[in-house]
Symmetry: C2
Subunit: 374 residues, 2 copies
């Protein structure tokens, strides 16, 4: 029986089979040939080597153009529905790597309209406030302020709206229903919304008056939006945006996606050291019931949230990661010690991140699209 | 059998039964009591006396508030899909009368987004250009520049969008489908669009941070949009907009609505005297086949487009209109002469209108919402 899971831009549930998702969505795997090609542009990022970024659309096409001297721009975003957590940072860290490697401009879209429309409990004032906090985290990762522009949908709507109108004219309700699972009770703002998320895909082409390719690093759950955008692009005279997809960042409780709906299984970028220690301490692991049993039988890193955190973000050294796995399996290291090591790494990262986050406040007014004021 | 006719914001067809429309839409007739009440605020306009403005929603409620010292604002608009014709001017002439009588601010919305979305043959550049031309005609009618603000949707979207989002969150696809007759092939921009037309209903309340009532003079074909707006208003903390509806201005070919789809049966505000003469000359009348027969049997003003033009706009003097009817029925005046009289009146009006239309160009930059530049 096929595993039951659901992946939409607004819901990731069940035990996600990422191989099956590539087939279901019709994307392409990043295979060894493509990995080798990417290695020509610079040292491959750990997230690529470890297949966290594992799927794409039209990446070879984009690289062909780049090789011929045609620059491209990056576009990613965030739906501001709450505080930023480590799961949000992951694709942005990779986006920063891409900006450095290709010298690319990046647009970061904060969809305050989307979260207002899809969340009954949020007002526009809420999503707008959260957007600012999220943007601080984005900039704390070190994006080049000269090559980075923040889009806040309600502030930048005059730029986005004409593009969104053009997209929306080519998308029927049938299509939106099929792609997003809408029904008769869906509100008409939500139905229209994908047009707004599509707009930045074409922004540079529109502004430059010529074809400017776009590469979107994003979670594979966001792919449906860009499938729609890609479908309409040729009819509007724009190139289809290329994509590079990541798997979801896991929750500490062992689930497939870190989610704000369980704050205790979610590490926020503003958590203090004590909170991180407490949350990691409660993480789901592959350990045994007793220390004795674990020393004898060993642990199981494959199902362990602590291991996944190391794998995704906190142990970039392959040899050290392998060593950790061996020691876990042999019963040489127990969960308590392993959690302690991860806690130290996360707190080390957050200490620097929180400092850079504060520093980012000084430049927030310089990096907004069309010079909007927060 | 009930007469077959269709009235939506995008289509008026068949032989419209305006009495039945009041029941179908659930609006209220302007009865003699309400007419008498309106007469207290100033000399009643011909269009009201003659029941061209014949239906309303919540007008007594608005007047009650006005009597207690609560001012209201006016809101009307135009979908810029082509040149302005006399049919477009009619509700604006009445709106001008309301502005004068109540000293009210008026918002005039030009829905360049709507016409782009609903018309396959129009681009945004087209509807925007037409919007400017339409706005010239509006201002040529003498609106007070100090109390008039033009909204061009794509230019003013930053102001409209947050309001539209709030509206759209409360309107399901089911509702939009039921009210507007949408189906699965409707594009998602069109589905969302009513939210944009609803936004100005709440603009003054939003800006003032208090309840500011809104009165919308408009063709009854636009009522469905405002039915939606009225339904969501209480949930958003805004007052329901009040409406006063007019019947459609007839075409010269005898149809119920002057339409740009038959340019020869449509008098544009920029037509020259010769063109007007030609078009009126070809108008459908209630005359007989031969002059002899008509002198004997008389004509039928009830079905005559020339009579309707006099009734709606060009003969404000009731006694003179009655005299014209008598002379028609008795065979004393034939269609050729009657057409000549109407032609002279229209050309007299257009001469002044076209001059004021040119003069309006000088103030167009002063009267835009949020100071947008054309």
């Amino acid at each position: 029986m096929a595993p039951e899971f659901k992946v939409t831009p607004w819901e990731v549930s069940g035990d996600v089979d990422y191989d099956m998702l590539v087939e279901r969505f019709g994307t392409s795997r990043i295979d060894s040939t493509l990995k080798e090609r990417l290695a020509k542009y610079g040292e491959p990022h750990t997230l690529l080597k470890r297949n966290v970024f594992y799927s794409h659309r039209d990446l070879p096409w984009l690289l062909d153009l780049y090789d011929k001297g045609q620059s491209f721009y990056l576009y990613t975003g965030r739906g501001p529905s709450g505080d930023t957590h480590l799961g949000h940072l992951m694709p942005w860290i990779f986006a920063k790597h891409l900006q450095d490697m290709f010298g690319a401009t990046i647009y970061f879209q904060l969809t305050d309209d989307e979260k207002f429309l899809f969340r009954q409990d949020l007002e526009l004032e809420d999503t707008r406030r959260m957007a600012f906090e999220n943007a601080l985290d984005f900039m704390a990762l070190g994006f080049d302020p000269e090559k980075t522009r923040i889009i806040l949908d309600t502030e930048c709507i005059k730029t986005l709206y004409p593009l969104a109108l053009k997209v929306s004219k080519k998308v029927t309700f049938s299509t939106a229903r099929a792609v997003f699972g809408f029904d008769n009770s869906t509100n008409i703002g939500s139905i229209f919304y994908t047009s707004i998320q599509a707009a930045p895909c074409f922004l540079e082409s529109e502004r430059e008056g010529r074809t400017v390719p776009c590469l979107i690093p994003c979670g594979i759950d966001q792919d449906p939006h860009f499938r729609v955008a890609r479908d309409v692009a040729p009819g509007l005279g724009y190139p289809k945006p290329a994509l590079i997809h990541n798997k979801m960042f896991p929750g500490l409780e062992g689930g497939d996606k870190m989610s704000s709906s369980n704050p205790d299984a979610t590490i926020y970028t503003t958590d203090n050291a004590k909170t991180v220690k407490r949350k990691v301490g409660k993480a789901f692991t592959g350990g045994c019931v007793s220390a004795e049993e674990q020393r004898e039988k060993g642990g199981n890193p494959e199902i362990c949230a602590v291991f996944k955190y190391n794998y995704f973000l906190f142990e970039e050294d392959d040899a050290k990661l392998d060593d950790l796995v061996s020691r876990c399996r042999s019963g040489d290291i127990l969960c308590g010690e392993c959690k302690g090591l991860l806690t130290a790494k996360i707190n080390g990262f957050l200490e620097g991140h929180q400092r850079r986050r504060e520093e980012a406040k000084a430049i927030m007014h310089e990096i907004t699209l069309d010079g909007f004021e927060w």
